[in-house]
């Protein structure tokens, strides 16, 4: 059972085998948490949002339609983040302002982390999201393309461009 693909497991979950959701939770909750933390820089908020992602997975399990499970799951996470920043926080302020502020508050992170995080924070939220997602070895360009509604080739080019931009910012700050 452990060796089954995400998609087959999710299919079974959608058919009513709820216990299998635990496997998917084990596989992905850290990734989701990490992604959200990188995006918002707030541990508590990331944990709450991750929890919400998996609640939604339980609630909307029957709406899963065969596509890449990873794309589906990260789409839920991205929407959660967007909803959080547009609805719960100051609704008229831009998302990057809030994300930037939130990350700055974390003082205890190590120097390397601080440099990289600072560099990431200077990117557009969309670019930042792209580079964070692409740095997970588990997420392929095809899945990334499915998530943001693009083609794998275009995504690859875009990621490459953003990486170069990030590298420049990062090296300047050292």
């Amino acid at each position: 059972m452990e060796a089954l693909s995400d998609e087959i497991i999710m299919q079974k979950v959608a058919e009513g085998n709820l216990d299998l959701l635990k496997i998917l939770f084990d596989r992905y909750h850290k990734h989701i948490y990490h992604f959200l933390y990188k995006m918002c820089g707030d541990r508590m908020l990331s944990e709450d949002l991750t929890q919400d992602v998996f609640y939604k997975l339980i609630k909307y399990r029957s709406s899963y339609k065969n596509g890449s499970f990873k794309s589906w799951l990260f789409t839920i996470a991205r929407n959660n983040l967007k909803t959080h920043f547009t609805r719960d926080h100051k609704p008229h302020e831009d998302i990057k302002v809030l994300a930037y502020k939130a990350v700055e508050e974390e003082d205890e992170i190590m120097e390397n982390n601080a440099h990289l995080q600072n560099a990431l924070n200077q990117l557009d939220p969309a670019d930042r999201e792209l580079v964070i997602l692409s740095r997970y070895k588990e997420i392929r360009y095809e899945e990334l393309a499915e998530m943001i509604g693009s083609t794998p080739g275009a995504v690859k080019t875009k990621v490459c461009r953003v990486l170069k931009k990030l590298k420049k910012i990062y090296l300047q700050s050292i």
Binding site: D19, K30, Y33, R43, E47, N112, L116, K137, K167, L171
Partner: protein, 263 residues
């Protein structure tokens, strides 16, 4: 390829996702191109920074709350099935009882309703009948005082509407019988009164009328009725009529014929 910079392939080269052919070409180019060599080193540093990040780990709270939510969802799913099936079975009897009860309630309320309605209608009807009788009596009495003879006859004829006429009506009819100048009115009044001969006041009225009546046909009619009810008090006025000179001869004969039967 060898003459072009390969900076776009560097991330994939570092990730080891290039196929053998492209990988070999990239390595060839890197050996010749210092610019791309530098690019590679820089990108490597960035990737190391990514890899060296301490990855924050979510607390155990996340797993616990997820598993709680999962159990809640499973319970809510499990509850639906066993609870619904036994209930539907027991509901059959319950539903039948409910239907029976509602039918009974409907029948009872219908009966009650019609009963109350009936009572009310009866009351209303009695009241109405009473009122119409009073109106008819008033109409009858006023008609009998009318100047026109036909109206007076019409008034007298109203007697048919009354089963038990009261004294006022009897007296009014008596007045017509005794004092009305029109023969037809007197005759009609007599016919009306002749239906109530069991009443003493009617008998007295008839005897009084026999003494006063001059119209022979009415006289005959009165005599017949009085004989029929065997009224002994009528004998005296009949004898008087026999002695009177203006009495019609056939009346006298009539009286002679019936007189023995009542004396």
């Amino acid at each position: 390829m060898e003459n072009k910079h390969i900076s776009d392939l560097i991330p994939d080269y570092l990730d080891g996702t290039l196929d053998m052919e492209t990988r070999r070409k990239v390595e060839q180019h890197l050996g010749k191109c210092n610019k791309c060599q530098q690019e590679l080193e820089e990108m490597k540093a960035l990737f190391h920074a990514f890899d060296d990040q301490d990855i924050p780990v979510p607390s155990e709270r996340l797993r616990i709350s997820f598993e709680t939510a999962l159990e809640t969802e499973k319970e809510s799913l499990a509850k639906v099935i066993p609870l619904s099936s036994p209930e539907t079975k027991t509901n059959w009897g319950g539903n039948l009882l409910k239907i029976a009860a509602s039918v009974a309630l409907l029948a009872v309320s219908f009966q009650m309703g019609s009963l109350f309605q009936q009572r009310k209608v009866d009351g209303d009807m009695a009241l109405l009948r009473d009122e119409t009788l009073q109106m008819k009596q008033a109409a009858m009495l006023s008609l009998m005082e009318n100047q026109s003879a036909s109206k007076r006859i019409q008034g007298v004829n109203y007697i048919e509407e009354f089963e038990q006429p009261d004294e006022a009506i009897i007296e009014a009819l008596g007045n017509r019988l005794l004092h009305d100048e029109n023969d037809n009115v007197r005759l009609t009044a007599f016919e009306a009164l002749s239906k109530f001969t069991s009443s003493e006041s009617v008998k007295t009225l008839l005897i009084e009328a026999l003494e006063k009546e001059k119209n022979p046909s009415i006289q005959v009619a009165i005599i017949q009725v009085l004989v029929q009810i065997q009224e002994r008090k009528a004998a005296e006025p009949m004898k008087k009529l026999l002695e009177q000179e203006d009495t019609q001869p056939f009346i006298k004969e009539q009286i002679k014929a019936v007189l023995p039967s009542i004396t």
